[in-house]
Symmetry: C2
Subunit: 181 residues, 2 copies
């Protein structure tokens, strides 16, 4: 976890975030092993995907962002939720054992937790980094308090964002290789 | 500027950043007009480009990221600087009147200022949002204190990052259209 915390601090320039990180005991190892075994990375927005350092991924892991899938707007209308939440439903076939990185939308994290309640396959680890004033803190508190049997890392409170979510993935993938560069 | 400040706050979940924003008096209008007139957006990394909401851009403006150009590693070695700094040299043909968005690398911002000292064409506005502990605060202080005749917006201190840089571009492009959505 230390590499992950260090990367988070560097991603936002704030040492204070170290005090707000919640995680399950096995989160780092679960995520690291999942990536080593070829698990895909499911991201809630393009920025999270863009921040993942591809050369660090140990198995040319697939990075999947479904937010801009053409079916998403209609699905969002059908379920009466955001596009970000609707996009999570398109993860179904990839969810088992995946690394999930949510760096923007509280509704994506809330909806993922709902789908897990309904029996969706469990990801290896959920990286919860929604940001902002509407639901972000609440979505991460829900993840940290009832992680539905999944490993997780979350940054409590309003802070978070794409760069922190990408940083967490990069840490799971490679630790802190810059220290040896 | 109010739309820009609001977007920055939402991008990082912290109202406190409002107190740390420095900008030239004409920055918002200069950036807004440049985009309306078709200026390109020059970004220091892929994440900044990924966070720009394309449908907000008023003139299908080009978003340019040169960091992964194949010539960059050799150029970095030749100038004895980072890849991020070397990538800025590839902006030369696009710099005049452009919107520059730096959301990651202090060395990119420092090198841009050096090139301006050497007579490089002036961008319409420089959005300075490098993040972190090594040079970020210093690069933004240098921009704010000696902006080389350019309009600018900068977030003073260690905080910043791709999401804030993208948010600033989105604000220049479209203000806060979500308020009317």
């Amino acid at each position: 976890m230390q590499a992950l915390v260090t990367r988070l601090i560097h991603a936002c320039g704030m040492v204070e975030v170290a005090d707000r990180i919640a995680h399950s005991p096995g989160a780092y190892l679960a995520g690291h092993r999942a990536l080593a075994n070829g698990a895909p990375v499911l991201c809630d927005c393009e920025m999270v995907g863009a921040g993942i350092i591809r050369r660090y991924l140990p198995a040319q892991n697939e990075v999947i962002v479904t937010l801009n899938d053409p079916s998403v707007p209609d699905r969002a209308a059908a379920i009466g939720n955001t596009r970000s939440a609707a996009a999570v439903e398109l993860w179904a076939d990839h969810l088992e054992g995946a690394v999930v990185a949510i760096g923007n939308a509280p509704t994506a994290l809330f909806h993922l937790l709902e789908l897990l309640d309904q029996g969706a396959p469990k990801p290896a680890v959920i990286l919860g980094f929604p940001v902002g004033f509407v639901g972000a803190a609440e979505s991460k508190a829900e993840l940290a308090e009832r992680p539905r049997g999944c490993d997780f890392v979350a940054l409590r409170g309003r802070r978070g964002g794409s760069a922190t979510a990408s940083a967490a993935v990069n840490a799971l993938a490679a630790g802190l290789p810059e220290l040896n560069a």
